[in-house]
Amino acid sequence: MTTQEHDASVYEQMQESSEFQELKRRFRRWTFPMTVAFLVWYLLYVVLSGWARGFMAIELFGEINVGLIFGLLQFVSTFLIAWAYARHAEKVLDPIADKLRHEVEEKTQ
């Protein structure tokens, strides 16, 4: 058996393990819906900028209108999602990923 085939079988075993499946599930269950959510939220903003200009022009405080607040909220949501992802990755994903990496590295060496 060549090294490469040996490696491949180690990877396939790992891929099938319940722990790896759990890591994959936790990664995808967080990132996929969140990606859909921020894209929809962003497209809502773009669509409103095209078709709801009266709404975007409503003044809230002085000259500050809905459009400006909506745009600034896109900044806020981007910062918050980035921060939340970092937290999720550190607390939930990294511990499993680190453990599995050590396991595979021991088997392949």
Binding site: D7, A8, S9, Y11, E12, M14, Q15, F20, L23, K24, F27, R28, T31, M34, T35, F38, L39, Y42, L43, Y45, V46, V47, S49, G50, W51, R53, M56, A57, E59, F61, G62, E63, I64, N65, G67, L68, G71, Q74, F75, T78, F79, I81, A82, W83, Y85, A86, A89, D94, A97, D98, L100, R101, V104, E105, T108
Partner: protein, 539 residues
């Protein structure tokens, strides 16, 4: 002392410092990993700054401030798309790519596919996207020198392009990724400081009352009949006069901006410069912070220029508004510190603008020459038999050739309206590269035919749609003013070409029987756990 002289002194100081860095970096660059990826030894914070330096182009600094100064709110739409796009890179691409790739975007795509067709497609797409973006920056440099240094002759502008191109070639050929990264870090710090200084002075003038600033901007630069229209969407993109097509065009632009970033080769290779996927994550977080704050600053700069300099004076300086930020710097300096203050601030912002262009064009030249050498030369022509030394030599030669080509094309395109090339680069990246990357990382069934179909399908459809769009022919603002071969009504192809790229990738995949379960297991395990990821080099 005039601001031109002072600006030249500041700019030459930047050039001297960056050349010293390049010389230092060239002595540190020994292996292919040093040349392509800076030895993967940058920290997350350093790479975060470099991401900012690579991404915040003159188009986003001068361009967005200019759009806001002339058309108000609509410039903000651009910056929001540019920022939100980083979430795609953070959540889906950066870490997985760092774990499974080596030097180029194609490394990830070719992982479980037949390498030669996939690397050819990815190499072609990388070079096309980078050259478009590069050309827009080079022409911008020629226009900028006219405005800042008062050089308006075609020969003077051509020499500026030669100078910018020569510096860029030196940074990349000698400094490789290490030199380029440090140039981008220095530039990011200078740009953020310069923009923050002018923003603070402008806000201070209005007693830190944003509403007062916006009110004056609308009164001075808004439409006379309805000044408040300046503060809401609709003066530039998808105006009521353009009707439905204009509004769909706005969505099309928005899609390309938000999905393009995670497919831009010069951005993707930044993830390889750090030791681990965790550092890649950290660098994107820093990048998002820096870029986000920067776009908030440009909002104040744009409205500040509209309020203090005024639309009429800005449009006289440059029809696209690119001089709004430097003109604002001069005006606010004069108002607060007298005429010498204006001179200093104008010189400062002018020098920062040039530093900005240099750092971005260096990143683009590096990305395209790396892909030429690593993908096309080493893996397609030499079938993976090239030595590291040969690869680096070819990378340096191709950086020189691509740089020279960019200089030549930049001179030829002088005075042409090439601003659409930036949006086109984002559209091609979103239509061809992004589907291939996402399918590679997440779709088990994806294969060689699928990858090649996605890349060529997205690339060719985006290009064809732009060729037959109003930006190339059929109007006073088009590239060819006298000809008219418009078939596609939108200026931005994204709304058609992005779904088409994903569709081509899907159809190509299901038409081919190829499927390698072992390789998919390997990329999935490697990308999520970091097993076997390329290590940082030690010196």
């Amino acid at each position: 002392m005039t601001s031109t002289t002072l600006g030249m002194i500041l700019f030459l100081t930047f050039v001297a410092a960056t050349l010293a860095i390049t010389f230092w970096a060239s002595r540190q660059t020994k292996t292919a990993a040093d040349y392509y990826a800076g030895g993967r030894s940058f920290s997350g914070v350093q790479n975060g700054l470099a991401i900012g330096g690579d991404y915040m182009s003159a188009a986003s600094f001068l361009g967005i401030a200019g759009i806001i100064a002339l058309s108000g709110y609509d410039g903000f739409l651009y910056s929001i798309g540019f920022l939100v796009a980083w979430l795609v890179a953070l959540l889906l691409v950066a870490e997985l790519m760092r774990n499974s790739g080596k030097f180029t975007m194609a490394d990830v795509l070719a992982f479980r596919m037949s390498p030669r067709p996939v690397r050819t497609a990815a190499g072609v797409s990388t070079i096309v996207v980078s050259i478009f973006y590069l050309l827009a920056q080079m022409v911008g440099a020629g226009a900028l020198v006219g405005l800042l240094l008062g050089i308006h002759s075609p020969a003077g502008k051509a020499w500026t392009i030669v100078g910018v191109g020569a510096l860029m070639i030196v940074y990349v050929v000698f400094g490789g990724m290490k030199g380029t990264t440090w140039v981008q870090i220095v530039k990011a710090v200078l740009l953020m400081s310069g923009a923050a200084l002018v923003t603070l002075l402008v806000l201070g003038k209005f007693g830190f009352n944003l509403s007062a600033l916006l009110g004056q901007a609308a009164t001075v630069s808004g439409p006379k009949a309805n000044p408040d229209a300046f503060l809401s969407p609709g003066l530039k993109y998808g105006t009521e006069a353009q009707g439905l097509a204009g509004k769909i065009d706005l969505i099309s632009l928005g899609l390309a901006l938000v999905l393009g970033t995670a497919g831009l080769p010069h951005i993707l290779i930044r993830f390889y410069t750090v030791p681990t996927a965790k550092d890649a994550r950290k660098s994107v977080l820093w990048g998002i912070g820096i870029i986000g704050v920067f776009y908030l600053l440009t909002l104040v700069l744009g409205f500040g220029a509209a309020a203090l300099v005024g639309k009429t004076a800005i449009a006289e300086g440059d029809a696209a508004g690119n001089t709004a930020a430097p003109m604002l710097a001069q005006r606010i300096g004069e108002e607060i510190f007298g005429s010498f203050g204006g001179t200093i601030l104008l010189a400062l912002i002018g020098a920062v603008a040039f530093a900005t262009i240099l750092a971005v064009v260096a990143g683009l030249t590096l990305a395209s020459s790396s892909s030429f050498s690593h993908d096309l030369y080493a893996h397609v022509f030499k079938r993976g038999q090239a030595t590291e030394r040969q690869e680096v030599v070819v990378a340096r030669i191709s950086a020189f050739v691509i740089g020279a080509a960019a200089i030549g094309l930049g001179i030829l395109a002088q005075g042409q309206n090439v601003a659409f090339l930036v949006a086109l680069a984002f559209a091609v990246a979103a239509s061809g590269n992004l589907p291939a990357i996402l399918y590679s990382l997440f779709w088990k069934r994806f294969n060689t035919v699928g990858a090649v179909s996605a890349i060529y399908g997205g690339l060719v459809s985006a290009l064809l749609l732009v060729i037959f769009s109003p930006v190339v022919s059929g109007g006073p603002t088009a590239l060819f003013k006298t000809a008219d071969f418009v078939i596609f009504p939108l200026s931005n192809p994204g709304i058609v070409s992005i779904p088409l790229g994903f569709l081509c990738g899907w159809i190509g995949t299901v038409l081919s029987k190829e499927y390698n379960a072992a390789k998919y297991a390997e990329i999935e395990v490697r990308s999520l756990t970091g097993v076997g990821a390329e290590k940082a080099t030690k010196h």
